[in-house]
């Protein structure tokens, strides 16, 4: 149940910050690389991490803070719902 809600939240953020309604179209599938697909650049990853920490009120530990962990929609959503301090999709 959390997956679609978190997914929508991330898509909304991508639309609000970068793609203005085209994010869903740009992401061909949930496992496609954000970097390769031009969905998000390295600076965008930093802003995405800040957004996730603020929205879900958890801390992304330095061990997980690699581009590889946040390089696709599926990876991001799984990271969020798998986080030990995740309290549910707001």
């Amino acid at each position: 149940m959390s997956y679609p809600l978190v997914r929508k939240r991330v898509i909304d953020w991508l639309d609000d910050q970068y793609h203005f309604g085209d994010a869903e179209k740009l992401i061909r599938n949930d496992e496609a690389s954000f970097l390769d697909g031009g969905v998000l650049d390295s600076l965008g990853f930093v802003q995405l991490c800040l957004f996730l920490e603020k929205t879900y009120r958890f801390k992304i530990d330095r061990k997980s803070l690699t581009r590889e962990n946040f390089d696709s929609l599926g990876k991001i959503v799984r990271y969020v719902i798998g986080h030990k301090d995740f309290k549910g999709a707001a």
């Binding site: 910050q17 085209d22 650049d41 390295s42 600076l43 930093v46 991490c49 330095r62 803070l65």
Partner: protein
């Protein structure tokens, strides 16, 4: 000995043959690489070899310490966990301090003492030590591995041969590309082999690299750039303009060419190094420039300084714009201990900050009306973005190239007012060289994708002919010994 010098043409074929006749075992290949790399390093400065070896061993001991004091893999808390964590943190601090101390002593001590003396009229001793070759580059590679291992993003390296090969690999020792443990350790841990495809790819990388480095950079540098920067303000405006545009072409060709040679040589030894340049003069914004220019340095700065700084718990958290200033000033100082590099970094930090503010404002318009999204995609917007970015990038190269701030100011005035001396007399070669830089970039535009595909599908014999033509061209027109390697000084 540098990768583009004649001596290397004697050293490398001999090493290449020896490397591939040895048993194809990772350990044997690694120790062969270490021996070759130490020989290569010793040709620059024999006296510094013990220091290089000692600091590499200290880092290896620290990396082993990270594993010794690692947290239990099953996650079960042990009484020693907290103490181990403190030990790991102490080891990381030691590793970073020991690496930065070498950098500070050799590269920055003289600059800071000199600046302090000038500012406060003191007479601190000013150290003028010879900079160990590649120090700025391999220091970053080592610190990156220390940080990644500390945060358990990387498995601690266990083999001294792997670690020594990673640190000393001669194609990347002098000027990068700055590799990462995550992309290179595995390659050193496994036996390497050389395929026909890799050989051909390396041959083209070497050919392109040599044309960029040995022909283009040298021709443009000696004929168009150096005379005008040596006497700024005395030449005409046109000469100043050609000099600064020429310098943009020169510094690109010099370093992108060298990087391609390093990548090609690495590939011939079975090691795939990361890309360092991706057609930077096609960039349509400043952030894009830094994703395409000296990519391995910039990803290091953004991943190990910028990211932790703006996502950490300090007052810099969330300060995206201020983070740009800090990281670009750090980039300026990395390039050299001089106020000219500091100014260059500051200008780029301010440029990124201005772009960030503009981008925020533009996004506000996009949220209100989608017509702004379409406008941003228009050809006019893209071309305008490219022009602003390119002009800014080229003009900021004035302090980067000028020896002092006063000379940079004089050059900028010369660009505006000009002097009486006409263009330095010369041949058509620097203009042809600049045209080749333009062609190199234009050929990478999406509109030429079909042509690129057809070119890559040409028969092997044709490719061989093309390579032969490049070699003949270089033998006829490359000004042997005329060029310098700009990035070797960093």
């Amino acid at each position: 000995m540098s990768l583009s010098e004649v001596e290397f043409a004697y050293f490398f074929p001999a090493f290449f043959l020896l490397y591939w006749v040895l048993p194809r075992r990772a350990a044997v290949q690694n120790w062969a690489l270490c021996a070759g790399s130490l020989f290569f390093y010793a040709t620059w400065n024999l006296k510094l070899v013990p220091l290089f070896v000692a600091s590499t061993l200290v880092d290896f001991a620290i990396l082993r310490g990270f594993e010794k004091f690692a947290a239990p893999q099953d996650g079960s808390p042990l009484p020693t966990d907290e103490r181990n964590q403190k030990r790991r943190r102490a080891l990381l601090t030691l590793g970073i301090v020991h690496n930065l101390t070498a950098l500070a002593a050799f590269k920055y001590a003289g600059f800071f003492a000199d600046s302090f003396n000038q500012a406060f009229g003191t007479s601190l001793p000013v150290l003028r030590l010879a900079l160990p070759v590649g120090l700025s580059f391999y220091t970053m590679g080592r610190i990156g591995v220390l940080i990644d291992t500390y945060y358990e993003r990387l498995t601690p390296v266990r083999s001294l041969g792997v670690w020594f090969s990673f640190v000393s690999f001669f194609p990347q020792l002098i000027a990068g590309p700055i590799g990462r443990g995550s992309e290179l350790f595995e390659q050193y841990e496994n036996p390497r082999k050389l395929t026909a495809d890799a050989f051909l790819k390396a041959a083209f990388e070497l050919a392109t690299g040599f044309v960029l480095k040995v022909y283009i950079a040298a021709q443009v540098g000696t004929e168009l750039v150096d005379p005008v920067f040596a006497a700024p303000g005395t030449f005409t405006r046109k000469a100043h303009l050609l000099a600064v545009v020429g310098y943009a072409g020169q510094v690109f060709a010099d370093f992108a060419g060298y990087s391609l040679i390093a990548i090609g040589v690495g590939r011939l030894l079975g090691i795939t190094l990361p890309d360092n340049f991706q057609f930077p003069f096609l960039s349509k914004s400043l952030p894009e420039v830094w994703r395409r220019w000296h990519m391995t340095l910039n990803r290091w700065l953004f991943d190990y300084i910028y990211g932790p700084m703006v996502t950490g718990d300090s007052f810099m958290r969330g300060r995206i714009g201020a983070g740009f200033l800090v990281v670009m000033v750090a980039s300026g100082l990395w390039h050299g201990a001089a106020f000219t590099y500091l100014l260059w970094g500051l200008l780029h930090g301010l440029g990124l900050l201005a772009h960030h503010r503009y981008d925020l404002a533009y996004k506000g318009l996009c949220r209100k009306n989608r017509v702004w999204v379409e406008r941003r995609r228009s050809t006019f917007y893209q071309v305008a973005g490219w022009m602003v970015t390119t002009v800014f990038f080229i003009l900021t190269l004035i302090p980067f190239r000028a020896p002092t701030l006063a000379a940079a100011g004089k050059f900028a005035r010369g660009l505006w007012a000009g002097g009486n001396l006409p263009n330095p007399p010369g041949t058509f070669h620097p203009y042809l060289a600049l045209l080749l830089v333009v062609i190199y970039h234009v050929g990478a535009l999406p509109v030429f994708e079909g042509f690129r595909k057809r070119a890559s599908a040409t028969p092997l014999a044709m490719k061989g002919l093309a390579l032969g033509a490049v070699i003949v061209f270089l033998m006829l027109f490359a000004p042997v010994g005329a060029g310098t390697f700009i990035y070797a000084q960093f």
